[in-house]
Assembly symmetry: C2
Amino acid sequence: MQIKQAPVNPNSGSVTPPDITDVQLIGGFWGTLQDLNREAIIPHALKWVNKLGWVENFDNAASGAPYRHKGREFADSEVYKLIEAMAWDSTRPGGEKHLPVIADLTKRILGAQEPDGYLHTRYGRRFQEPRYFDMTFGHELYCAGHQLQSAVAVARTNANSDYVEIARRLADHVVRMFGVSGHNEICGHACIEMGLVEFYRLTGERKYLEQAAIFVERHGEGSLPLFEFGRAYWQDRVKVRDLDVLEGHAVRALYLASAAVDVAVETQDQDLLNALVLQWDNTIAKRTYITGGMGSHHMDEAFGSDYVLPNDRSYCESCAGVASIMFSWRLLLATGEKKYADLIERTLYNVVATAPSREGTSFFYANTLHQRVAHTEPAFNDEGVVIRGGASGRQEWFEVSCCPPNVSRLLASLGGYVFGTQENSLNIYQYMAGRIETKADQKSVVLQVTTNFPVDGKVSIEALETPPDGITLKLRVPHWLTNQVPIEHLGPESETSGNAVFVPGEDFVELKVSTGDQISFEFELVAKYVRADDRVDASRGCVAVMRGPLVYALESTDLPDAWDLSDVYVSTGAGLITDGMDVKVHLQHVERKKEASVFDAQECHGSSEMQVVSLVPYFDWAERGASTMRVWIPEVLHEVN
Amino acid sequence: MQIKQAPVNPNSGSVTPPDITDVQLIGGFWGTLQDLNREAIIPHALKWVNKLGWVENFDNAASGAPYRHKGREFADSEVYKLIEAMAWDSTRPGGEKHLPVIADLTKRILGAQEPDGYLHTRYGRRFQEPRYFDMTFGHELYCAGHQLQSAVAVARTNANSDYVEIARRLADHVVRMFGVSGHNEICGHACIEMGLVEFYRLTGERKYLEQAAIFVERHGEGSLPLFEFGRAYWQDRVKVRDLDVLEGHAVRALYLASAAVDVAVETQDQDLLNALVLQWDNTIAKRTYITGGMGSHHMDEAFGSDYVLPNDRSYCESCAGVASIMFSWRLLLATGEKKYADLIERTLYNVVATAPSREGTSFFYANTLHQRVAHTEPAFNDEGVVIRGGASGRQEWFEVSCCPPNVSRLLASLGGYVFGTQENSLNIYQYMAGRIETKADQKSVVLQVTTNFPVDGKVSIEALETPPDGITLKLRVPHWLTNQVPIEHLGPESETSGNAVFVPGEDFVELKVSTGDQISFEFELVAKYVRADDRVDASRGCVAVMRGPLVYALESTDLPDAWDLSDVYVSTGAGLITDGMDVKVHLQHVERKKEASVFDAQECHGSSEMQVVSLVPYFDWAERGASTMRVWIPEVLHEVN
């Protein structure tokens, strides 16, 4: 059996993922971001993990001499995530430059691994706290999970075999320690579960799958303490299979849910899979922001109760965006349902693409939907890095710096999420410029996708090569489509199936294509107003603007000087103006009476002239200096005549 | 000079507070709560501080032998606050039963005081962390502040002179350690400042005032670290006199602001006082809930940015309500402005009265304005007490149990907030049933106030004794008054000033009364809708209901069985029904279509019949079992015909 080279490679399911090398994203929105990832994000992140001593921790651990561990309990994991990013990126043209870096890091990490396979630079040495001393926040198994995930990436890209051996010893250690007859414990931050399943898929060694299943099943048995944020924080309140909506810390919840899909698929556990499908449905229906962002609480970085989605306190951690895509992609592979691809698209454009700055050297940790104050000074630690993600603006690095490497590893492996194959079809899930080169029935398929999407809606797909009798292409019908879109389908000789049409509300449009076929269509990317379920307090009486998958934002930078963002109302009656990526709305600015108190105030719209003001794509906000911003804009209650 | 027996006793200012013994609240809303305080809250709290070893800490410290400190860093302060509550309560008939308890605690606390005056049971002994090791969260000066405040109460009620001596030695120690030539530091939680000023007022020793001023001025110089929540958390970002709105941790901010008023008044620092007046104005205008609750964030228990007042994540710590009253009362005494009394009334009825259960044995720590989930299991620590206040329902006790004793000490001293005197008038600020017995120009004044307010709006005041030429009575015109209210004024012989009238929007109505005069009036207590400033996201498109100072709430308990609180809209067109304390609204319940996602949903009011449903006074919610609740209710957008 050929080892599949995908980020996620289930042994069964409805859809087979592509190999990482099957898709080369070239130019366009995402190819450009992949280039930024290679040229800016990865070097920037490497600089920081070196500068702060997070790599040096491994050297120190290897030396045997006492040392002061640098960074937080999960510092090791940032190095692993960067290795994963470099491994995936190494498959792109020019990516071989990462290989010596991976080799160097491998040597240093190898030195830090204990003879029995244990690997963590902060615990277990005679001058340190003992191993597994703190299952709640020690993050040892969390780091191990990231090491396994990165080792899978390294293995599947043939980047370094020594690094994979580290993982094997580490995984064996974990199985020995926490197996059926081992310690009946789980880690306070899920991650090991996903790492173990994928390592099983890589190696075929069933003990790793079994260990992952053990960890998944232990969640909800209360082995972790009931602390300030409740057991839900670390998904230890209820068994995964008994839960109907995600709860607690968003990244933890999504990592565990992703792993649980993996376990369900590999063990043919349909009950567990059904529970996860239900959790996804309810989480999207009640606990997700319009951007795809997840996590309503700053305090515990957690999901809120149903409909608790405050905009000015939205957390929407960048990592939760990455983790949400992991969860959705696994469910897509398992079930074939296209709604998961819709959420992936939403999250890619509005969370993942939002996190890094245009330069790739600063990042949002939290992705608020409403910035009330243009600039709040972030809190720096002694090392000059920002302590937490709540501050305004993107930041160079964080004390808790999970997000930049997480975004990086997703960007590097993004090709793996573009299409999938089913028995009789090749399904295009994301419309990204690039080249698809894969096999169908052992026969080559080469497709060239040309698009500026979402700058405009034009997409053309050229079938450069197919098996002699052609292939069935299934094109995803985006959830945001409002009008039918005809597909022009030209064969080498003539029009072959000109009546294929994207129909709003349907899942896919199916085409039979053969070598030389040229398919083209143009999605209408016209901005439209969206209203939220009005059980969400914060968005009641407001509209947001979307254009295709893009959420737009109103930024103070675009307002007339004398206007304050909090005194602005949108006239939905006056219509939206779409001109390519540019979207403009009609706004009314009100003068307010001076109020004695916030709770006594009556509505008091002194009215002013209507003005046409530009919005920015949400992913592009805060790129022009400190600003206030809102995604949900209150509607004018009484039109000015 | 006679020592004034008031909780707050400025040496100058616009208004002179009453002695604690000048007001006996008897029956009525607040007299009943004072009885509950004595009979239930104080014994309940004493039981817990004993049970958890927080009193035993003092015995252990006195013993000299090593021991494990029980409770959090601020456990000592809860004992001090209870002593303060008992001291104030000891002035009420039957209150002398507290005196032996105070005497016993005094002995035990005295034993724990170090020879140099230092007093804290968690630090400084050879088996403990050193003194002042952690100025951020050590809470040593915070505890000292509470000890001083409680000692002032003990002194002013002649409850125990030994306890006051403990305070003198402690205050001297603080001055030695942190004076001009001492350590240039402040405590992470303000409190010492208020304690020192009041101790100065008690003793006349100026060094205590000077030390308080030093601490106040040091805030904003950055002696505390920039940590996760920013320096604003502990009011160390900006100098107090340069701030224009309260920020950071609400209780810390309000304690410091209260102390700063005290310092401004005692040092004739008009600039500082002006800054505090501005801070109060802006805080009320932009950062306060309709209940008077303060604090928008769970994470850092802090004020939000302007208009960040989410209802379903409102924090509104009970302690912040108590502290807000401290701040307002000091500004009232300094300026004479009646708006401060309005906020005190609002906060008393909707925060202070809400915190304890009817039985006085459980308490809200946070006072949410929107309970989305009927029951969430609180997080208990190993000792069986709730760790933090975010859980649903009132709880018996908390690991951080600042709130119950804080509410207790305020209730015990509440008489001190009822009236004040100016050169030519006695001003009634709060309409509470009871007896006022004071002096005007060395002559006795005795007034009997009879009222069931806010059950109904009737108030009568009988002048049992006045100086021969009478006194001028100034009656506060409540901010919630909408109609003129005539005053019936009967003298012993005839009607004397029948044309006095409460005029909405005015500050006071003035009357000249003499012995035997009988004054009576009836406020119209009809429920009305209130709309919030619509810069507050969470309340946009909603109304709240108030009746007099009472905020009302819609509780699921009162809904028809099949109705869900989140599917209910209020028809403001259909009017409100007021019948005494009972208030009813017309509600419409909507059926919702099943939505795919919270962000795609369109408004979809399937309509149902209108029903008349009762509201409950907010202070009385959650008394009938687990429920969902909301103060701000969305308005019906399209009336059903």
